[in-house]
Subunit: 309 residues, 2 copies
Amino acid sequence: MESELIDQLRRRLPDHPLLRKGVGDDAAVLRMAGTDECVVTVDLLTDGVDFRLDEVDPRRVGHKALAVNLSDLAAMAARPLAGVIALALPRRGGLELALALYDGILPLAERYDLAVAGGDTNSWDGPLAVSITLLGQVTERGPLLRSGATPGDRILVTGAFGGSILGRHLDVEPRVDEVLLLAQHYKLHAGIDVSDGLSIDLFHLTQESGCGAELDLHAVPVHDDARRLADQLADGSTALDHALGDGEDFELILAAGPDVARRIVDDQPLGVPVTDVGRFVAEPGLWQTDRQSGRRPLPPRGWEHRLEG
Amino acid sequence: MESELIDQLRRRLPDHPLLRKGVGDDAAVLRMAGTDECVVTVDLLTDGVDFRLDEVDPRRVGHKALAVNLSDLAAMAARPLAGVIALALPRRGGLELALALYDGILPLAERYDLAVAGGDTNSWDGPLAVSITLLGQVTERGPLLRSGATPGDRILVTGAFGGSILGRHLDVEPRVDEVLLLAQHYKLHAGIDVSDGLSIDLFHLTQESGCGAELDLHAVPVHDDARRLADQLADGSTALDHALGDGEDFELILAAGPDVARRIVDDQPLGVPVTDVGRFVAEPGLWQTDRQSGRRPLPPRGWEHRLEG
């Protein structure tokens, strides 16, 4: 690790009650007593795929890199504990870039009381890659898995969908506080965050739960960005198309029993709207319903990170 | 994440008692009851810096990526618990490459009873980058920190040094079992693994301990590879130079009181030799001693990952 960067980080990284030993050893030492179950998640973001470094402020890149990881913790209804950050930096301007990334990371870490436990920083001839690993604490309600939805459950979503490419995909607001509040007061059965797209992530959830889902197209909250994007593109795609398939909304899809779902929707306990967009059904697959044409298959659409063989 | 790779991995990743939920959700769920302190470490390895993908079998790259992380756990005297693996894969041949990397990772994980808890896999237009994060359990003796050496302690090293570039830097044997055995039977004060170079990593340890060190040059175990490399290069560098500065030996430097150190050296309790190579002193800095010229400053040499501003 670069001693200059480490020196600067040491001065900037705040102490944290979880950290017995932070930056400056071969590994960080975390106080974990009382944490019977923890969750662990990693996301690696790369230049040209998750952001374009030549177009955006690196602080927004740092923010996004941490926020999408926090969104994974939110999907598990886990409280953020600690994280480590690994950077592959282009040789030219690497130190400056690393500090700017941390300028985006640290305020968000502080907001969620996350202990930044250290990391690994490397220079190379490739473009920027940022890998963040987070540990989260499972609450007394247990982790929220993708596999817990049952037929008859309602499909709830936070926020609105579509058009995140216009900028929201960088300025991600992870739904950590929101899910912790919901999990504390209402019985939730399953959850996933929408990274790849509303319809495909809903499909992922049904696959893990061994069921299907009917999405009420009229109920889907369409973001203003989806409308703006459809207007800008003028390629025949509708705002609803963008809401269903764009991805990187980092909102949550949740499963809850009908009574609980009704209470949540009536209470609206979050700063962000919670909307009932359909129901889970026994028959595997994804379906769309609307008032005109009844029930038809809904092809799951969204971001598929393709690998060539 | 790529569904084809995930499907293949799911079939190959063994269950593990630590894993309540492994691959296939937004995060893995780990059973941590009884783990009061854990250590966390991340290393990011990149093509062209830590390996050359066009010259080596990717299975050796996978092995190295996990082994250097295990070596960090060894430096803390921590028992491996769980790990997550993030890959940035070149688009062409990415799936094949990912599977070959896992072919190198999984046998090593199994050998150390490490739960592979999941990961993140991405394609991009850049070269291969592999980021592994490990969790380790601190034993009842506590973590072995860099900061615990005191003047008068002896400097112990495992194995021999130099010339790892001839191949050993890929086929790393992390000293996990060795340090756990030592920590169980002998009181150790401090530890670090030699990734950057024997002299510079010894220097790092003294900096954290607020002391200095005198290295007895005649006592330094020089690896046959260091001799072979000096012969091959024929550039005036000696085998000892390579032992002091080459790095990527992934042996351990340990601090222990004189009586304990003598016992360890007499007992030779490991399959690999343990050698007394000098002592920690109050005066900050690094010193070399030999029979001819007495004590002189020893400039710390080794791998410095430089960042350009």
